[in-house]
């Protein structure tokens, strides 16, 4: 736990020259949306939202992988809704009464409602800040109790042994962390699709054909199985393998069918997945 961000500064970073995006300036997607909207001096309306959607999406594109997963996903949810709304605005009207359109309308209303709610709290927070600042300047009488009154308090009944006290200390020091769902398990060790492809290629060139089951037999982690599966799909895209499956959900046989195969092809494989 490093310096608590909620205490470091009360100043709101105000972008001055031009619009600069950096996550530190915004406390969540609604904050960014409101900033974009106010920058354009627009009220929260559908027009305003479609006008700021591009900027919002552009900002999102700049979000690095180092950002908080949950924060980034909130931004994504809002961005997706905005994009949906923009697309709906571009499409010819008239055939709006399908399930998708209804869902879109609901999402839009939800977004509006949440934005308005967020704005209401943001506005009232200035009242909080003003009152707190004013009261901080006030001086209440708060003087320590005269020792002569203290002397008359009832004698303290102390029942703790030394060990009780130590046990109490252990309890008191136990981290009172607010329980959170850990995300560590989502970050499995990185598996390279290219490496997995190399294994698949070498196995298939040796045996000609193997079932998928055989191809992943040695994999000890789910991630490896997934990566090996993706690498096979990639090989299929390069027409290096063909599939045989006699019945749905039945055994899948992968056959090496590449006519030209070079290590350069392998080096390019899975580039789509590189981040």
């Amino acid at each position: 736990m490093s310096a608590d961000p909620s205490l470091t500064s009360g100043e709101e970073a105000a972008p001055e020259s031009g619009f600069r995006v950096s996550l530190a300036n915004f406390d969540g997607p609604f904050d960014l949306l409101l900033t974009l909207i106010s920058k354009r001096e627009l009220d929260i309306t559908e027009v305003a939202l479609s006008a700021v959607t591009d900027e919002f999406i552009a900002y999102l594109a700049d979000l690095g992988p180092q950002e908080d997963l949950d924060e980034a996903s909130e931004f994504l949810v809002v961005a997706a809704t905005l994009l949906d709304m923009k697309v709906a605005g571009l499409l010819p009207q008239g055939e709006l009464v399908d399930a998708e359109a209804v869902a879109l309308l609901e999402a839009r209303d939800l977004l509006f409602a949440r934005l308005l709610q967020y704005r209401a709290f943001k506005e009232v927070s200035t009242w909080f800040a003003g009152n707190i600042a004013r009261e901080d300047g006030r001086h209440a009488r708060a003087v320590p109790l005269d020792p002569k009154y203290r002397a008359t308090t009832p004698e303290l009944r102390w029942t703790l042994s030394l060990d009780d006290f130590a046990a109490l200390a252990t309890l008191a020091f136990a981290p009172r962390e607010i329980p959170t769902v850990g995300l560590d398990h989502l970050h499995a060790p990185q598996v390279s699709i290219r490496e997995q492809a190399a294994i698949v290629v070498s196995s298939l060139r040796t045996h000609g054909a193997l079932t998928f089951r055989e191809l992943v037999a040695g994999a000890d982690a789910k991630g490896v199985v997934v990566a090996r599966f993706i690498s096979i799909l990639e090989l299929y895209r390069h027409a290096a393998v063909s599939f045989e499956q006699l019945e749905p959900l039945g055994e899948l046989t992968v056959r090496w069918t590449a006519e030209t195969w070079t290590d350069e092809t392998l080096a390019m494989l899975g580039a789509d997945y590189d981040s």
Binding site: G10, R119, E135, Y149
Partner: protein, 190 residues
């Protein structure tokens, strides 16, 4: 003013002069051994007295009712005299994020962290911890089903805001109620 009145006021003054936090009318009544109603009247009379509305001069201090309790403060216009002398340092300010989270909790209490996070659209864990540490909010009760803790504001917050009850918060947009509808289903997410 009867002799009893004078005596009651004197006893209240004695209590107020040793108090280092707001004292509720009930506490004061217990301390001075008098029913609540005359105590309330006597406090109002003392306040008027200090404000110079009775026969005496206006005092350099005033009696204020904050956070459901009574406490003696330096009269507001004289705060600069005191500040200059004791050179009181400005306390660490709350960040914008902390203020907004505080506002959400104040208006929506009792409220869980995930409900606050929904409204703020960000993770509020560390901000909630800061507010707890500063005594501005407190844990109320765990949800019997999900185990999620519900939070509410404290008397210290009322004191910091200089108000007497949470009802004195300014009204906020009526849209708020509409806005909260339909979020119930997604409360327990995080």
């Amino acid at each position: 003013m009867t002799a009893d009145d004078t005596d009651l006021r004197r006893r209240l003054e004695a209590m107020l002069i040793v108090a280092d936090e707001p004292l509720s009318v009930v506490n004061l009544a217990t301390a001075v051994g008098s029913p609540v109603r005359p105590v309330r009247a006597a406090l109002a009379a003392l306040k008027a007295d200090y404000d110079g509305e009775a026969e005496g001069p206006q005092r350099g201090f005033e009696l204020r009712e904050v956070a459901s309790g009574w406490r003696i403060y330096v009269r507001e216009e004289l705060d600069p005299v005191v500040t200059e002398f004791i050179g009181s340092q400005a306390p660490a300010r709350l960040s914008q994020a902390a203020l907004e989270t505080l506002a959400v909790i104040a208006y929506k209490q009792p409220v869980t962290r995930s409900q606050v996070a929904q409204i703020r659209a960000v993770n509020v864990d560390s901000v909630v911890r800061t507010l707890l540490g500063r005594g501005l909010i407190t844990e109320l009760h765990a949800d019997p089903e999900t185990g999620a803790m519900h939070y509410g504001t404290t008397d210290l917050l009322l004191e910091k805001l200089g108000i007497n009850s949470i009802d004195e918060l300014p009204p906020i947009s009526p849209l708020l109620d509409d806005g909260s509808d339909g979020f119930e289903g997604i409360d327990g997410i995080s």
